[in-house]
């Protein structure tokens, strides 16, 4: 049976829903000579697709997943494998009722129609076998459905074969992936070797093992999701189809129940996290059922039996209804809960399409194909990008710690600012001990412990009184402190010291360094040494890959500084822009350099006390950087600001950081210097100034024009995304980034409520707003603007609404609050003319 081609344009490893979809969409976009292999038989090779529950609830709090799901549903419907049955998420607790309202809001933000909050009596009408007395409400989505994912996979494979684009080889095990000079060169299987420069790993929970063959990392773990099928259920005796009743998600018990023919399937995410290593998965031959249908462990389900009994006593309590089938089904969990997609940073031509659920499969396949063929997917996938991981993220300990913690949050009520408990204190800045002594409350960002606020500043809350905009509602008080707003106000009066060590920093050097940054950046990079340029970095489609600052430190030496969260993806982006001839290189200094920021009206006085360098406005203009001496230290000072006040970022080798901190701290005491947390830096300071943040306001689905960040003219030099950007400049802009404020915070109970971001923006008569490209308006960010005494919401609005003074609504926790468009341009609501920064 050695009909395996000896070479291929691309080899897709895996024939689950993802591999099949990637294969079809690559073919659809014109690629030929594709080979798909799977170690198992077809149509069910024995991976997670084969035992998935196959139902799809469209609403997620994240835009990326919601869009992937919507695209997948569209494809499933087109293939005729989607059965709409409706779905209800039920609440047993008041907190969950509030969460269901939050989900209603997300549904509106991301264009999921016809959802409604329904009463227990209405739930009972739809699902007659439920005991409605244990629930308080339901979130009903009529468009929930069930798919035949194996059939869908077969259809997609067959379509690709009909295009003469695909050879499929089942029962073919990959033994090795050959890598030559950092690039994929072949796939070795038990049926022969295929030469190829492109490999897609769509191997579900086996993906880490396959990636490791090439020296790459796909940090996921196989984990158990328990489910059982009971029946035959007398109530379903006349069931004709696969499913006729809405699927019930019993959110508070982390379970679901769905009718399946004459049976009832009960699934759980409530049991203890049961993680496996890839090597613990049996082979197809060893497995009694399939490799990913592992033996059911009843004692982990004992509590769940009782919970399902409570909700559906009529069926579960029927002694004649037996358990026909029960498995510990394997699925893939990642440390941050997101899929792992894209080209691996370790090996060129090696692509990951892993940790994908049935509900995202076809959409992921289509996006992967676009990414591979066209250079970018139409849905922004930065949260799923395989390049997002730092080294510590890839360790077994981290993966297991975070997936264990995250598993029981599958149906959880997860606050947008919720912190992880496990595997903390991985990356500590040189200032950590000093911050701890000041009562820092640490939030984690990509492993870094970052002070979010300092308890030592608690007395300032009293000082500023109501100006800190105190919150009474539990939800928006959670993971928040009025000290953040107090620090903000004090910084505006005197000065604040901010730990910025989480920045990702990398240097581009060599004779071609200018070319590299020029091609990556929208703005002109051929500037004088010592200039600091804040610039968008565009994808080929003219949307945002990133926004970051680049310092020209020498003729052939540029330093890129970008946010920690996106730092590794940016690092890969710049490396991908390196010339093949080796005349430029990128070196990662993230761990070598540490950074503090000092901002506020007194920042200059403090700096002048510790350095003899000229720190005057004229001598050290805004947007410049230079080395200054502070005692024995040579410090790279950069005069920019993300908080709206005069000041500098100070870069110092990490091992000298503590000494620098002490120098600034000591000098600042007489000028009222306080430690300021990331709460100010990341939220209040930037929102007042209208600064857009990557991942919130900025992503590849919005243009520079829409973000309001276009320059008067475009540089002559070529850069990635230039053609698209030029085109965008000639097109009408169909959405504008706007700054809105809430004009009345009082809820129906009179309590003041403060949205946290993600909420839908509605017209005055409560209708969702959609722009000409079909994108909904929602709060990309929301937070306090203490200097204004207001709560700001940033949102993209179509031109007819993007008019200052327009009155709109925001929906939050099931209620509407009036908002007004206060700013349509780039200028901040606070100090719009930047007098403070330019002081």
């Amino acid at each position: 049976m050695s009909d395996l081609p000896s070479s291929a344009k691309a080899v897709i490893i895996g024939a689950g829903i993802v591999g099949n979809s990637v294969a079809f969409h690559l073919a659809d976009l014109g690629w030929r000579d594709l080979v798909q292999v799977d170690k198992g038989p077809l149509p069910n090779p024995g991976g997670s697709t084969g035992h998935a529950s196959n139902f799809i609830f469209p609403t997620d709090h994240g835009k990326e997943i919601t869009q992937l799901t919507a695209d997948s549903v569209r494809q499933y419907r087109e293939m005729g494998v989607f059965t709409e049955c409706g779905g209800i998420e039920v609440a047993r607790t008041p907190e969950r009722v509030q969460e269901l309202h939050r989900r209603m809001a997300s549904a509106k933000s991301f264009e999921i129609e016809d959802t409604e909050i329904i009463t227990p009596a209405r739930v009972k009408e739809l699902v007659p076998f439920i005991d409605e007395s244990v629930i308080l409400a339901g979130f009903y989505t009529p468009s929930v459905g069930v798919v035949d994912s194996l059939r869908a996979g077969t259809i997609m494979r067959e379509k690709a074969m009909a295009l003469n684009a695909l050879t499929v080889s089942a029962n073919t095990e990959v033994l090795d992936i050959e890598v030559t000079n950092g690039k994929v060169s072949g796939v070795v299987t038990d049926k022969g070797t295929i030469k190829t420069e492109c490999v897609v790993i769509a191997c579900g929970c086996w993906s880490p093992k396959i990636a490791a063959m090439a020296g790459a990392s796909i940090p996921l773990t196989p984990a158990v999701h328990q489910m059982k099928d009971i029946g035959p259920v007398p109530e379903f005796a006349d069931a004709k189809g696969d499913i006729e009743y809405p699927i019930v998600r019993d959110m508070d018990t982390n379970m679901y129940e769905r009718q399946h023919g004459t049976g009832l399937e009960v699934g759980s995410y409530a049991h203890r996290p049961i993680l496996h290593d890839v090597d613990e998965i049996p082979s197809n031959a060893e497995a009694a059922l399939s490799p990913t249908e592992m033996p059911f462990t009843q004692k982990d389900f004992d509590l769940q039996d009782e919970h399902s009994y409570e909700l559906m006593p009529q069926i579960i309590g029927n002694e004649s209804v037996g358990q026909k089938y029960a498995i510990n089904g394997l699925l893939s969990l990642t440390p941050d809960g997101m899929p792992i997609l894209g080209e691996t940073p370790e090996v060129k031509g090696l692509w990951s399409a892993a940790a994908v659920w049935i509900k995202e499969g076809p959409g992921v396949g289509r996006m992967m194909a676009q990414w591979m063929v066209l250079g970018e997917p139409e849905i922004d996938l930065h949260q799923s990008n395989v390049a997002r991981f730092y080294d510590h993220h890839k360790t077994r300990t981290h993966i297991r710690a975070r997936t264990s913690e995250g598993f029981n949050k599958t149906y959880g009520i997860v606050h947008p600012a919720e912190q992880w408990d496990s595997n903390r204190n991985v990356r500590l800045s040189p200032y950590y001990e000093r911050e701890k002594a000041l009562g820092a409350v640490f939030y984690e960002g990509v492993g870094w412990e970052r002070p979010f606020w300092y308890e030592v500043n608690a007395p300032l809350v009293e000082k500023f009184g109501d100006a800190v905009m105190p919150r009474t509602a539990e939800w928006e008080s959670r993971w928040w402190s009025p000290i953040i707003n107090a620090e903000h106000l004090q910084m505006r009066e005197t000065a604040g010291l901010v730990d910025l060590s989480a920045f990702a920093i990398f240097d581009v050097t060599g004779p071609s360094a200018l070319d590299v940054v020029q091609r990556a950046a929208l703005r002109q990079m051929d500037v004088a040494v010592g200039k600091v340029i804040y610039t968008p970095v565009l994808k080929p489609n003219g949307g945002y890959q990133s926004d970051l600052t680049i310092m020209r430190l020498g003729h052939d030496h540029f330093r890129v500084v970008t946010g920690g969260a996106h730092g590794m993806a940016d690092l890969k982006w710049f490396r991908d822009h390196l010339p093949a001839d080796g005349t430029a290189s990128v070196s990662d200094l993230t761990s070598a350099m540490s950074t503090i920021g000092i901002w506020g009206p007194n920042a200059r006085k403090i700096m002048e006390k510790i350095t003899s360098a000229d720190m005057s406005h004229e001598g050290f203009p805004f947007g410049t950087c230079r080395i200054i001496e502070i005692g024995t230290q040579r410090v790279l000072a950069s005069r920019i600001s993300y908080v709206g006040d005069l000041g500098w970022e100070l870069y110092i080798p990490a091992e000298q950081g503590a000494k620098l901190w002490d120098a600034v701290w000591d000098a600042g005491q007489e000028f009222g210097l306080i430690p300021v947390g990331i709460g100010v830096y990341g939220t209040t300071g930037r929102l007042e100034k209208g600064y857009r943040a990557y991942g919130a306001e900025l992503d590849s689905e919005y243009t520079v024009l829409e973000a309001g960040m276009a320059m008067k003219k475009v540089k002559d030099q070529d850069f990635t995304g230039k053609a698209a950007h030029l085109r965008h400049r000639d097109e009408p802009v169909v959405a504008h980034m706007c700054g809105l404020t809430i004009t009345d915070h009082a809820s129906s109970t009179g309590e003041k409520r403060y949205p946290l971001g993600g909420e839908p923006i509605l017209t005055k008569d409560g209708q969702p707003i959609t722009d000409a490209k079909g994108r909904r308006s929602f709060a990309t960010s929301a937070g306090s603007a203490p200097s204004l005494g207001k709560h700001i919401i940033m949102a993209y609005l179509p031109p007819e609404y993007a008019v200052e003074g327009t009155e709109l609504l925001v929906e939050y926790m099931g209620e509407h609050y009036p908002v007004v468009v206060e700013r349509t341009g780039i200028a901040g609501l606070f100090d719009p003319t930047n007098e403070r920064i330019m002081a």
Binding site: P41, N171, A288
Partner: protein
């Protein structure tokens, strides 16, 4: 000397007994047989023809049809009297049962379902016995001056080795309760039509049949060529077919001329029941399914689309 317990049913010798005699002959030329019950004498000649140098016929007025503990009692008396090195029987339900009783009476180890036996020096014997219906072999040492063992059906070939017929009869001395359990009656046929175990052709269906309805096709095929319908354990567990049709480790073990496996993947449990078929043909969508490793011919197709085509051709060919 090696004593072979000869199993017969009212005078009809069980073929595995002959295999047991051949297995014993390989260990010792002095192989003697013991046979008990109604019709016992009728089988003596056949035992001799395969090499039993002496046939002991145990008599007792109460011993007519099969009476397991009484048979063991008879064997036990001969063991005590003649001190054979081993007692061997066929690895059948009856053979295992009688030697099980013998082992219990003497509190000796009992190696059932052997596929290889070597007598070593002293009290030890090196045996290989089948576990998991033959899917796993256990290479073991049995320590006893009396080896009690049965041989797995078909593990040894029965070869004729003409010994002169020498029959000696003896009276069996029974103990209390020895005749309490015995065959008292026989009823009906369990499979209807052609018995599964004896059928020359078995047309068998598995999970790939996707439900009871498609078995109509298998019945049709069996009808045309005079075979029996069989199935895998999944099928009987799902209630699609009666258990009497189950082929496998815990069902019926078959050895037909043709075993036609339709939509059967080939779990360990099933293979144990059908691997003795002379010709095995598998119809399965997966050319790499485990059953293909045992098949002589394969059709890589879906049973639902293939069988109607095949039935048409089969009917045409048989007319």
């Amino acid at each position: 000397m090696i004593l072979v317990y000869a199993e017969h049913d009212r005078g009809e010798l069980d073929p595995v007994t002959l295999q047991a005699i051949s297995a014993a002959k390989a260990l010792d030329a002095d192989v003697q047989a013991v046979v008990v019950g109604h019709g016992a004498k009728d089988v003596a000649a056949e035992l001799a023809a395969f090499g039993a140098v002496s046939v002991h016929v145990g008599n007792h007025p109460e011993l007519l049809d099969f009476t397991p503990r009484a048979h063991a009692r008879a064997v036990n008396a001969l063991v005590t009297a003649n001190s054979p090195r081993a007692v061997i029987a066929g690895g059948t339900p009856r053979g295992n049962e009688v030697l099980g009783h013998l082992a219990a009476m003497r509190d000796e180890p009992f190696a059932s379902e052997c596929v290889s036996i070597e007598l070593a020096s002293g009290d030890t014997a090196e045996i290989v016995r089948a576990r998991w219906g033959g899917n796993l072999l256990d290479e073991a040492t049995v320590t006893s001056s009396l080896l009690i063992a049965t041989v797995q059906a078909h593990a040894f070939a029965a070869t004729s080795a003409d010994a002169p017929l020498s029959v000696s009869e003896f009276d069996v001395e029974l103990a209390d309760g020895d005749v309490l359990v015995r065959v008292e009656d026989r009823v009906g046929s369990s499979a209807g039509g052609v018995g599964l175990a004896e059928a020359k052709v078995v047309v068998s269906g598995g999970r790939g049949m996707d439900g009871p309805d498609a078995f109509v096709m298998l019945e049709e095929i069996a009808g045309v060529i005079g075979g029996a319908v069989g199935c895998s354990r999944v099928v009987t567990s799902a209630g699609w077919r009666p258990h009497a049709e189950q082929v496998g480790q815990t069902g019926t073990k078959v050895a037909p001329d043709l075993y036609l496996a339709c939509g059967i993947s080939g779990a360990t449990q099933h293979i144990a029941g059908c691997k003795s078929a002379k010709t095995l043909i598998a119809i399965n969508t997966d050319s790499q399914a485990p059953i293909m490793g045992f098949a002589d011919y394969m059709v890589v197709d879906n049973v639902h689309t293939f069988l109607p085509l095949f039935i048409e051709k089969l009917k045409a060919a048989s007319n």
